[in-house]
């Protein structure tokens, strides 16, 4: 078995920055998700849809579910964040958006090194996630 060389393998700075920001984004997202869910199931916050009614509602397709519960689509949930079940969506949104900040943080590093293609790839990925988050593609619900 070959022994490990003396020198330590150091990963590129952009990779380490990405890892650090992703770790924090995930921690915040998971904390918000778990705390809001605990408040929801313990009844500390009023629900938009009563938990006892869920078994007769979650059997329907999402369109019918929204119709029966008058639940919001798109970013409409932001106005109902005080409701226990809706508050959980904030944690999910943070987890789904965590990568955007990481990608943006890489752009200055790539530009400083003259790697314009990779800076453009980062911005393209950000554009894709933002497009998905914008609800613009989904059209009318």
């Amino acid at each position: 078995m070959k022994s490990l060389p003396e020198q330590v393998v150091v990963q590129p700075p952009e990779q380490l920055r990405y890892a650090r920001l992703l770790e924090w984004g995930t921690r915040v997202g998971m904390a918000v998700l778990l705390l809001s869910f605990a408040a929801y199931v313990l009844g500390l916050a009023e629900s938009h849809v009563p938990v006892a009614k869920l078994p007769e509602l979650w059997i329907h397709p999402v369109g019918r579910f929204l119709e029966l519960t008058q639940s919001p689509t798109g970013w409409g949930w932001l106005a109902l964040l005080h409701r226990g079940d809706i508050a959980g969506l904030l944690g999910i949104a943070i987890l789904s958006g965590a990568s955007v900040l990481c990608l943006l943080a890489l752009v200055p590093i790539y530009l400083a090194r003259g790697e314009r293609i990779f800076a453009a790839v980062c911005l393209a990925e950000v554009a894709v996630v933002v497009l998905a988050a914008s609800d613009w593609l989904a059209g009318p619900h």
């Binding site: 022994s3 393998v9 890892a19 809001s36 929801y40 938990v51 329907h60 790839v121 980062c122």
Partner: protein, 312 residues
């Protein structure tokens, strides 16, 4: 002890199927209190997490076919939860993989841009299709995964003579420390255009079925592009964290993410994955693979039969 090791995995797998079957029997029973379902979901996801890690596949791959076949939730919400399970797992593992060099941002980014864009299209198409059609297609895809797992041979350190012009231009290479052999391993890739095309297709499947895509990412990076197996697995996690983010937003915007389904799934899966990671060192990979192929095959047939109405 030889019997005890496989038994450590067979037991959770059998409990998983029994719990799922019990859930199916009581499906739609209005007398069951509401908390039975998220609790049952959490237990089933814990068991999925236990067997998914040693099998080397994402929990999301098992989650959608099993929960979709045996729980009363509509497939729209199950796919939304499946994406979140895959996303949370990928995000949790991402930082460690990147710091160790097993995950490469440089290799992941070009693949992720195409897969993310196509995953949005996949998610929109999947949500627009009738549930029975999605269920049938899901069954077919899951059985395809079973065949892929059965036939595919993995190459730990593929030989890449020279990188293709695109890989050279993008400097798609890196180095990592292989703790198993105590070696510093430099790597590079080839066939980048074909790899990019394959990620376009993988993104559609990930978005449409909410099953994550580690099962497809790893062969594409390892067998097609020539990345070392550990780099392929680590980079697959980074790609997943980006692809599932895009698809998850589509499900979130459409109202197809229910915290009551998604959160217990994430919690159960993450707890199970911790146990699974410990079992990784004591279990034989071949035994685990055969077991998962069996569970996945059963779930795939069930999804196909449910979609066709033969076993509703």
């Amino acid at each position: 002890m030889r019997i005890a090791r496989p038994a450590a995995l067979v037991v959770p797998a059998l409990v998983l199927l029994a719990a799922s079957a019990h859930a199916a029997e009581t499906m739609g029973a209005s007398t069951a209190p509401w908390w039975v379902w998220p609790l049952g979901l959490c237990v089933v996801c814990f068991l999925i997490g236990v067997i998914a890690v040693p099998a080397g596949i994402g929990g999301g791959t098992l989650f959608v076919p099993i929960v979709g076949s045996f729980f009363p939730f509509h497939l729209d919400f199950i796919r939304g939860a499946g994406l979140l399970v895959a996303l949370a797992s990928a995000l949790a593992a991402g930082p460690t993989l990147l710091r160790s060099g097993l995950g490469s941002v440089r290799l992941a980014l070009p693949m992720a841009v195409l897969a993310s864009a196509s995953s949005i299209a996949g998610a929109m198409v999947g949500l627009a299709m009738p549930a029975h059609v999605v269920q049938m297609l899901l069954g077919a895809v899951v059985l395809g995964i079973v065949v892929l797992m059965f036939l595919s041979k993995r190459s730990e350190f593929p030989h890449v003579e020279r990188p293709d012009p695109l890989a050279q231009a993008l400097a798609l290479n890196g180095v990592f420390v292989d703790n198993a052999s105590q070696r510093v391993v430099p790597w590079q890739v080839h066939r980048t255009p074909a790899g990019l095309l394959s990620f376009l297709v993988i993104g559609v499947l990930a978005g449409m079925f909410g099953i994550g895509a580690g099962w497809a990412n790893v062969p594409a990076l390892n067998l097609l592009m020539g990345a070392p197996l550990k780099v392929a697995a680590g980079t697959s996690g980074v790609v997943l964290s980006l692809v599932d983010s895009s698809a998850a937003w589509v499900y979130l915007n459409k109202g197809a993410v229910l915290p009551m389904i998604a959160v217990p799934s994430v919690v159960g899966m993450m707890l199970g994955a911790r146990i699974g990671a410990r079992l990784l060192t004591v279990l034989k990979a071949a035994v685990v693979r055969r077991l998962v192929i069996g569970v996945l095959g059963f779930a795939g047939v069930r999804a196909l039969l449910k979609g066709t109405g033969v076993w509703p």
